[in-house]
């Protein structure tokens, strides 16, 4: 099983055009497959998670599950990591983190937060609420290299590790 050679798919979220270009290049240089969007709501849309839906209720979700192909979309998209800016208009990176972690479909996807501001209380809150890493901007290649272990771990934890 050539796990090392398998491409990981990263979904990057940032409202800044320049930062989107940078993060895309950084991720591609590190051999990740990349999708970049400019907002939290677009990120949720891409994942197939309607951000207006309330999927806190497991029963409701199971019912919807049999009718929707959310699960199939999730596997087909194969998003292995979400990296998001913290400060964004509308849905912040923290809001997005919460939505992902509250979703039964996507809570296992590692989420990394980026911010230009070094605010310990912000950093701690994100980490406590499920973010794998908090990166200070401008993000460096060395930061991106730190992501791979999280992806490897998530892959070996998932039930479907044979699907790729």
């Amino acid at each position: 099983m050539a796990v090392d050679k398998t491409q990981f798919h990263v979904l990057a979220v940032d409202d800044s055009l320049i930062d989107r270009k940078l993060i895309e290049r950084l991720l591609k240089t590190s051999s990740f497959q990349v999708t970049v969007v400019d907002s939290g709501s677009k990120a949720l849309e891409f994942l197939g998670l309607n951000y207006e839906d309330d999927d806190h209720n497991d029963n409701e979700h199971e019912q919807r599950d049999s009718n929707s192909d959310e699960d199939e979309d999730h596997q087909d998209l194969g998003v292995n990591l979400i990296i998001t800016d913290y400060c964004m208009p509308g849905m912040t990176g923290y809001d997005l983190l919460k939505r992902i972690k509250e979703s039964s479909c996507f809570r296992d996807i590692p989420v990394v937060i980026m911010s230009s501001e070094n605010i310990p209380s912000r950093i701690n809150r994100c980490l406590e609420d499920g973010a794998e890493e908090f990166l200070l901007k401008p993000v460096q290649l060395s930061d991106v290299n730190k992501l791979r272990p999280h992806l490897m771990k998530a892959r070996s934890n998932s039930k479907d590790f044979d699907s790729h």
């Binding site: 055009l17 320049i18 230009s116 901007k137 401008p138």
Partner: protein, 150 residues
């Protein structure tokens, strides 16, 4: 003949970049950008610079507008400065980033005089970094043209 010209241009380019570092116009983040450019993405730095300049000019126009309002909307101002500070930081435009920090400070203190001064610094630093980067881009293009003729 060409490789002498190329070497001379490369020296010029190196000196220009070095002087920008020495003057604090650029910081190490610019090196990171250059490191991300390679044969598969030969125009990366130029593209980023171009995006940056368009964005910065848009923001500077907005800042000017908001600062000249009767009732200055400081939260809008702050939002724009935050954006410019972020993109300045991302490309390594060090002095411009500092000018943004100053405007943020002045804006927080609601000090209009300081805001005006800080904004002028932003404009000045932006034009300095833009003009030097434009020279850099021209040198870069010239070098690539000559190299392609080899």
């Amino acid at each position: 003949m060409n490789h002498m010209a190329i070497a001379a241009l490369k020296t010029q380019r190196r000196n220009l970049v070095q002087s920008m570092f020495d003057e604090g116009v650029l910081d190490n983040q610019f090196n990171q950008l250059q490191d991300l450019q390679d044969s598969s993405n030969p125009n990366f730095v130029e593209e980023v610079i171009s995006l940056f300049c368009n964005d910065a000019e848009r923001i500077i126009t907005e800042l000017n507008r908001y600062l000249n309002d009767q009732n200055v909307d400081f939260s809008k101002l702050d939002s724009y400065v935050h954006q410019l500070k972020g993109s300045s930081s991302s490309i390594g435009a060090y002095r411009l980033k500092l000018a943004c920090v100053n405007l943020r400070q002045a804006s927080e203190e609601r000090n209009m005089e300081e805001c005006a001064g800080a904004f002028n610094s932003i404009r000045r630093e932006y034009y300095v970094v833009r003009s030097k980067l434009q020279v850099l881009i021209q040198l870069e293009r010239h070098i690539v043209n000559l190299e392609n003729q080899q």
